[in-house]
């Protein structure tokens, strides 16, 4: 690989940027809503003991410096618009810009959630159509788009299980999970009051034989991810579903990896009863540096009565919100979830259409398999068969005690965001790579070259790899110290000189 190709060569601009509080100058003013001082004595209207004695210590910074502050900080972030961001199971695909425009239309962005239904017909129609489209893609009967993120979708799914078994008056307390499950799965199951039982996988997959011993009258269900976090399709899923159902339990599917399946196979046809999907993964809405996302939940018909309140319903040509659903698990958030995120996903689905969505999944799987086959001579893979939308490598066999964290940090120096690391837990030093369909072949080649180069460096220049990243605004950070002596806000003390 040629050094010239990497952004690090050019580096970032040579500036420091202090905390906004450290830029504060008493008396400086940023934005002013009005020049006029309000002519009101708060003390005459509000009891003195309820009034602030000292103003909140917010920074005092003029508008130009605030703009510079955030502009400078932004240059210290890696993002999808910068480059390849192959985080496994995160589906960091390109976020189309038309989505940002449509979600910012004033008729959406400035719409108050308590506005009367006759004045919100546009958003209610979109809500209804998006739920229908997602149900079709998943092969399910009904969808709620209210959960704010994947984890809240999982919790919703678990609460649906509870509501269903409560109505049947069955005391089912056990939730089965494979050892490859994402951490939110057990956390969501536990939050809904289930006892989590971890099931060991074999060759990366679940089989009916592995599940059977755990099934009894106390088993509420199985929560699996398909394709799973190793990038493998759970080939036995239908048989597993039948087995789970025969024990009176239900099957939940984490749809975080739906990007492999659109138009190709549908969870509903595999025996899945409930699933969540992530609009901020599969449906191209940006991740915002950690949210907002949106985690719709899709269910089979028999679970629809339990979906969260309210539901949008169509009556003749009009849409309204139905809150009078006695079996509903209730409300998930203050209002209806992340409406502006729905708009982005809806825009994407309209733009892509049925063929575009299918093509996206096909090319996502093509890209992952290409990376896999090009890198397998350099990085160890555990499972010999082909993968779906992501592939997992191990740091086994790396010389000089170079481990996954070193490889990840060195990748940053080559201008790439590292893959998901040390997950799934069943793989030693996992490097979980999901390229998505929006990466070109030439970008993949650059990434492959970088990983091969790092492998060479591990032998030839191990100290270089261990000292990475070298080209970022900060060097490797001490995470242990951060946790041992937590400093979680600015205290007013001067930062130490470098």
């Amino acid at each position: 690989m040629t050094e010239e190709k990497t952004w690090r060569k050019r580096g970032s601009m040579p500036y420091e940027e202090p905390l906004i509080f450290e830029k504060s100058v008493p008396g400086q003013q940023g934005f002013q809503i009005s020049e006029r001082e309000p002519a009101i004595a708060a003390g005459k209207i509000i009891p003195q003991n309820l009034l602030r004695k000292t103003p909140a210590n917010l920074p005092e910074v003029g508008e130009p410096e605030v703009v510079r502050h955030y502009s400078r900080l932004s240059t210290w972030n890696y993002s999808v618009d910068h480059g390849f961001y192959p985080l496994g199971s995160c589906t960091m695909k390109y976020n189309p810009k038309i989505n940002e425009f449509t979600a910012s239309l004033p008729g959406f962005a400035n719409l108050h959630p308590e506005t009367r239904e006759n004045l919100t017909q546009g958003i209610l129609e979109l809500w209804h159509r998006l739920e229908k489209a997602l149900a079709e893609i998943c092969g399910m009967d009904a969808v709620t788009i209210q959960p704010c993120a994947g984890a809240q979708g999982e919790l919703t799914g678990m609460l649906l299980f509870r509501a269903y078994f409560d109505e049947l008056k069955q005391n089912r307390t056990k939730m089965l999970l494979p050892d490859t499950a994402h951490g939110t799965n057990p956390a969501s199951a536990a939050l809904a009051g289930f006892d989590v039982v971890e099931v060991e996988t074999q060759n990366g997959l679940l089989t009916p034989e592995l599940i059977r011993p755990h099934l009894d009258q106390t088993t509420a269900g199985l929560m699996l991810t398909n394709p799973n976090t190793l990038g493998l399709f759970e080939t036995h899923i239908k048989k597993i579903a039948d087995l789970v159902h025969s024990a009176g339990a239900l099957l939940y599917m984490d749809g975080a990896n739906l990007n492999a399946l659109m138009g190709i196979a549908r969870p509903g046809d595999m025996g899945v009863d409930v699933m969540q999907l992530n609009l901020h993964k599969t449906f191209s809405t940006p991740h915002g540096g950690g949210g907002p996302g949106s985690g719709p939940v899709a269910v089979k018909k028999f679970l629809e009565p339990y979906l969260p309140n309210p539901r949008v319903v169509k009556e003749r040509e009009n849409f309204r919100l139905d809150c009078t659903r006695p079996k509903s698990i209730g409300r998930l958030t203050g209002w209806y979830g992340n409406a502006l995120v729905w708009i982005k996903a809806f825009t994407y689905i309209l733009r892509m259409g049925r063929d575009g969505l299918k093509k996206a999944s096909e090319l996502a799987v093509l890209n992952a398999n290409y990376l896999r086959s090009r890198l397998r001579d350099y990085y160890q893979i555990t499972y010999p068969d082909s993968c779906m939308h992501e592939c997992v490598f191990s740091d086994k066999g790396f010389p000089n005690e170079i481990t996954t964290i070193d490889i990840a940090k060195r990748l940053i120096d080559y201008g790439f965001h590292p893959p998901t690391v040390y997950f799934p837990l069943v793989i030693h030093g996992a490097l979980m790579i999901e390229p998505t369909e929006t990466e070109s072949k030439s970008r993949l080649e650059e990434f492959i070259d970088a990983l091969i180069k790092i492998k060479e460096e591990a032998s030839a220049e191990p100290e270089l790899v261990k000292s990475a990243p070298l080209k970022t605004p900060v060097a490797r950070l001490d995470e242990v110290a951060a946790a041992r002596h937590p400093v979680l806000c600015w205290s007013g003390e001067e930062p130490d000189e470098k």
Partner: protein, 453 residues
């Protein structure tokens, strides 16, 4: 077709050859044939961008937003001015198209900005630590209750909830805490619209008290008296704030012995967005930090001794603790936390205090007009910040329908949750409501009340 994937046919061929398969279809062989979709999805074909844009414009125009109207709606989502600078800065896709900052060296922008946000929330709430954000005020409230249950060694007694807590938030608590053994008990309000201190006094036990201040009906609570009672009874105090701007004017909940302060940060530069994405904020005492839900950004040093920021105390979280985590939250509302940080930086110490005062001024003007009216009446006499419950003498739904067609969104109806308040409207006045607009609202409300008589 020009979609968002760049592959040429030749490249696809080369890639298939390198993999060693004949067709893309071969890559899907792990999926059993009987599970492969044998038909096309029942969705329309993709549309070119101009057509998509036109369709979304049509849907957007079928709504009547705060931008199209004189808006007096609040009830947890407020119509405040968003400086264009905030919109502009949010367009920086370095922030919006990044993932959760798991690789701190490549994410210092997000991490530093969230650290600053945490500091601002700490300052505003008068607490010692704030997290990196929750989904919204409703979910943050439910998580606050779950955290309050983790504080005592043996949590006993009911969860006491003020009747003045947002009715939707009450329902979210029900959803999140349904399977827990703890009973939920509502502490009523007095006829003045504040929590009934005598009723609270009579409660024999409880794990925590959840109180919203200012409360859902706009009234300020008697925080000193509540603080004293909480201390006496050994309850954990959870204070919920739905109108975050009030924190710039009112003595912060931290001064009244709150263990947890959570709520809705939408007022800090976030558009109503039909209810989302909003900003759940969450603050606590430092001694309780390990019981907190959600992500925390902390300060540390790099190998060369330079200051830097990382996600920290992750042993509370799902990716480490799995079933034993303090919460299942993973993706939060980071970009909304950044929005609030930008907004609060722009307004600053004096600007935010002044804005809060303008809100107080407008609401006080409205209040005086209603007090002077022979047809309209304040439902509660307690002091308010920028929102109040007004008796219209007419069914509120009808009023909303009639004024809606005249370009006025007069407030939030209460009938759905409080049938006895069918003729009441929750009216908020912010910096967006000029005096003339308030005069006009009161005139029209009086006119409708007069017709009814």
């Amino acid at each position: 077709m020009g979609f968002y994937f760049p592959h040429t046919e030749d490249e696809i061929r080369e890639m298939l050859d390198a993999i060693g398969v004949k067709s893309i279809d071969d890559l899907f062989k792990p999926i059993p044939e009987n599970l492969r979709l044998q038909k096309e999805l029942k969705l329309p074909q993709g549309l070119p961008e101009p057509k998509v844009e036109a369709e979304l414009e049509r849907l957007a125009k079928a709504n009547v937003s705060c931008a199209d109207s004189a808006c007096f709606m609040g009830g947890g989502v407020y119509n405040h001015y968003v400086p264009r600078t905030v919109d502009y800065l949010l367009m920086r896709s370095e922030f919006s198209t990044a993932y959760t900052p798991y690789q701190p060296e490549a994410s210092q922008g997000t991490l530093q900005a969230v650290f600053e946000y945490q500091t601002m929330i700490k300052e505003l709430t008068g607490m010692e630590v704030a997290n990196a954000s929750m989904y919204d005020g409703g979910e943050a409230t439910a998580e606050a209750v779950l955290m309050a249950l983790r504080i005592p060694k043996k949590p006993e007694g009911p969860i006491l909830i003020s009747q003045g807590l947002h009715p939707h938030y009450q329902r979210v608590i029900n959803t999140y805490a349904k399977h827990l053994e703890h009973e939920k008990k509502i502490v009523p309000l007095t006829s003045k619209g504040q929590i009934d201190l005598d009723a609270l006094k009579r409660e024999p036990s409880g794990v925590c008290l959840v109180v919203q201040h200012p409360n859902y009906f706009g009234c300020l609570e008697q925080m000193d008296e509540i603080a004293a009672l909480i201390k006496e009874k050994g309850l954990t105090l959870v204070v919920i704030v739905c109108e975050a701007l009030s924190l710039a004017l009112l003595e912060p909940p931290g001064s009244f012995g709150a263990s947890i302060v959570a709520g809705e940060g939408q007022s800090f530069g976030i558009r109503p967005g039909f209810g989302g994405p909003l900003l759940g904020f969450f603050a606590s005492r430092m001694e309780l930090v390990r019981k907190m839900p959600g992500r925390l950004v902390g300060e540390t040093k790099d190998r060369d001794g330079r200051r830097g920021f990382v996600l920290t105390l992750a042993t509370r979280e799902q990716h480490i603790r799995r079933a034993k985590a303090t919460s299942n939250i993973c993706t939060n509302h980071s970009l909304m936390a950044l929005t609030a940080g930008m907004y609060l930086s722009l307004l600053g110490k004096n600007g935010l205090a002044k804005l809060a005062k303008i809100n107080l001024e407008r609401a006080y003007y409205l209040r005086q007009k209603i007090e002077a009216s022979k047809l309209l009446k304040l439902k509660y006499s307690s002091p308010v910040f920028n929102e109040m419950t007004v008796e219209l003498g007419v069914d509120a739904e009808q009023v909303i329908e009639k004024l809606g067609s005249q370009g006025i969104l007069p407030g939030v109806p209460l009938k759905h949750h409080y049938p006895e308040l069918a003729d009441c409207l929750l009216i908020a006045a912010t910096e967006m409501n000029e005096k003339e607009q308030i005069d006009d609202l009161v005139d029209r409300l009086e006119e409708l009340a007069r017709k009814e008589k």
